[in-house]
C-alpha cells in the first residue's frame, strides 16, 4: 500500500501499518494478560487428560491405581501442578471479572450492580472449595 508512485489526479495513498500475526500480543500489557488467561486452557486440557486417565487406572484395580499415584508424585507432575494451579486461579479470577460484562441482570428498573455478581461468585467459589476440602478430609 505504500508504493511511492504519485498520482496527481488522486493523491490518496493510504498507508497500512503492518501487524505481526505471531507476536501482536507482546505490544501491550492488556494483550499479554489476555494471552495468560487464554493459555490457562493448556493446563486445563492437561489436567482433564490426567483425570480421565486416572479413572481408567482406578477401574483397572488397586495396583494400577498405586502406579497412577506414584506418577502424580513425580517431580515433573508436581512442578506442572504448581504452575497449573497458578493458571487455574488466573482463569477463575479473570472469568469472574468478566461475569458482569457478559451477564446483565435487571432488578426492577435497575441493572444489578456488577460488584454484587462478582462478590456472589467469589462466595460460591469459597463455599465449593470448602465443601470439596471437607469431603476429602472426612474420606
Amino acid at each position: 500500500m505504500s508504493a511511492a508512485t504519485t498520482d496527481t489526479a488522486n493523491p490518496r495513498k493510504p498507508y497500512v501499518r503492518p501487524i505481526s500475526k505471531t507476536s501482536w500480543f507482546l505490544t501491550s500489557a492488556r494483550y499479554k494478560s489476555y494471552m495468560v488467561h487464554e493459555v490457562s486452557s493448556i493446563f486445563v486440557a492437561l489436567y482433564m487428560i490426567q483425570l480421565v486417565a486416572g479413572l481408567f487406572y482406578l477401574a483397572a484395580g488397586p495396583e494400577e491405581w498405586e502406579s497412577y499415584l506414584a506418577f502424580l508424585r513425580s517431580p515433573v507432575v508436581i512442578l506442572l501442578t504448581l504452575v497449573g494451579l497458578v493458571f487455574f486461579v488466573i482463569h477463575t479470577t479473570s472469568w469472574f471479572k468478566a461475569v458482569p460484562q457478559a451477564t446483565r441482570i435487571m432488578r426492577g428498573e435497575e441493572v444489578l450492580p456488577g460488584k454484587i455478581l462478582v462478590t456472589a461468585h467469589y462466595g460460591i467459589w469459597a463455599a465449593v472449595s470448602l465443601f470439596v476440602i471437607i469431603l476429602a478430609w472426612v474420606a
Binding site: 493523491p11 492488556r30 460484562q101 446483565r104
Partner: protein
C-alpha cells in the same frame, strides 16, 4: 495560576504525496497543566506547522473526532490531560488498525460500511403512522440498552481490538454494540429483522473477548460486554432454532 512548561510532542507524520512511509516529527510545545493533548496539537497547527493534519471538532468528548493513539493508548485527544503526562514527552499517532490517510487522519471507510450494514436504527415491530402516536417505552426497558447507546463512534475500540487488526473482516466493537443496542430495544423487532450479520462468522464469533475495547472506551459503553451478551443470544437462538426443527 497556570504553570507553563515545554513538552516534546512527537507526532507521526505521513504526507502521501511525498512520504513513502510515516515518520516521527518532534515539536517543542509550551503547555499549561489545564491543557489537553488536542490543545497542544492546535498550538502546533496555529504557531509551528500549518501542514499538520488531524480531525477534531467539539473539544468536549462529544463528537468523537479526535481519537488517536497517545503514548500507545487509543484516546480522545480532548480528554487526555497534560497533568496526566508529567514526563514532558508525549507521542501521538493515528489510531491503530486503520490505514493512515494523512498524518493523524485515518481512513474510516471500512467502519462506515460496517456501521451501515448492521442497520443501526429502529426497526419497529409494526410500523405506526404519525396519527397512531409514538413508540412507547418504560424507563426499565430503556435502562436495558442505554449504556450501549452512548457510543460516539470515535473508533478507539477498533484501535484497541487486536482481532480487528488481525482480521479486518471482523465487524468490530462499536458496530456490533450498536446492533445489540437496537436488538435489545423493546420497540425493535430484534435480531431477526436486523439480519444475521451479528451471528455470522465475522460478527460476534470473531470476538475472543480480549476486553481492551471496553477498557479504552471514553464513554464507558462496554462494547465487550454487549458482544458477549449478543453471543449468548445468538447461541440460545441457534439452539431453540434446532429444537424447533428449522434447519
Amino acid at each position: 495560576m497556570t504553570a507553563t512548561r515545554t513538552i516534546q510532542l512527537e507526532v507521526l507524520r505521513y504526507r502521501p504525496e511525498q512520504d513513502a512511509k510515516p515518520f516521527f516529527q518532534t515539536y517543542a510545545v509550551p503547555v499549561e497543566d489545564e491543557w489537553v493533548v488536542l490543545d497542544a496539537l492546535n498550538y502546533v497547527k496555529d504557531e509551528l506547522d500549518r501542514t499538520l493534519s488531524y480531525r477534531w471538532s467539539c473539544h468536549m468528548f462529544v463528537c468523537g473526532s479526535c481519537g488517536m493513539m497517545i503514548n500507545g493508548e487509543p484516546k480522545l485527544a480532548c480528554k487526555a490531560f497534560m497533568q496526566d503526562y508529567p514526563s514532558g514527552k508525549i507521542r501521538v499517532e493515528p489510531l491503530s488498525n486503520f490505514p493512515i490517510e494523512r498524518d493523524l487522519v485515518i481512513v474510516q471507510d471500512d467502519f462506515v460500511e460496517k456501521l451501515t450494514a448492521v442497520k443501526p436504527y429502529l426497526l419497529p415491530k409494526q410500523d405506526k403512522t404519525v396519527e397512531q402516536g409514538e413508540y412507547l417505552q418504560t424507563p426499565a426497558e430503556l435502562k436495558k440498552y442505554k449504556q450501549y447507546s452512548l457510543c460516539i463512534n470515535c473508533l478507539c475500540c477498533y484501535a484497541a481490538c487486536p482481532q480487528y487488526g488481525l482480521e479486518p473482516s471482523f465487524i468490530g466493537p462499536a458496530a456490533l454494540t450498536l446492533a445489540h443496542r437496537y436488538n435489545t430495544d423493546s420497540r425493535d423487532a430484534g435480531p431477526e429483522a436486523r439480519g444475521d450479520l451479528v451471528a455470522a462468522h465475522e460478527g460476534v464469533w470473531a470476538c475472543s473477548f480480549v476486553g481492551a475495547c471496553s477498557q479504552v472506551c471514553p464513554k464507558d459503553v462496554d462494547p465487550a460486554g454487549a458482544i458477549q451478551q449478543a453471543k449468548l443470544y445468538s447461541a440460545l437462538n441457534f439452539v431453540t432454532g434446532m429444537v424447533k426443527g428449522d434447519k
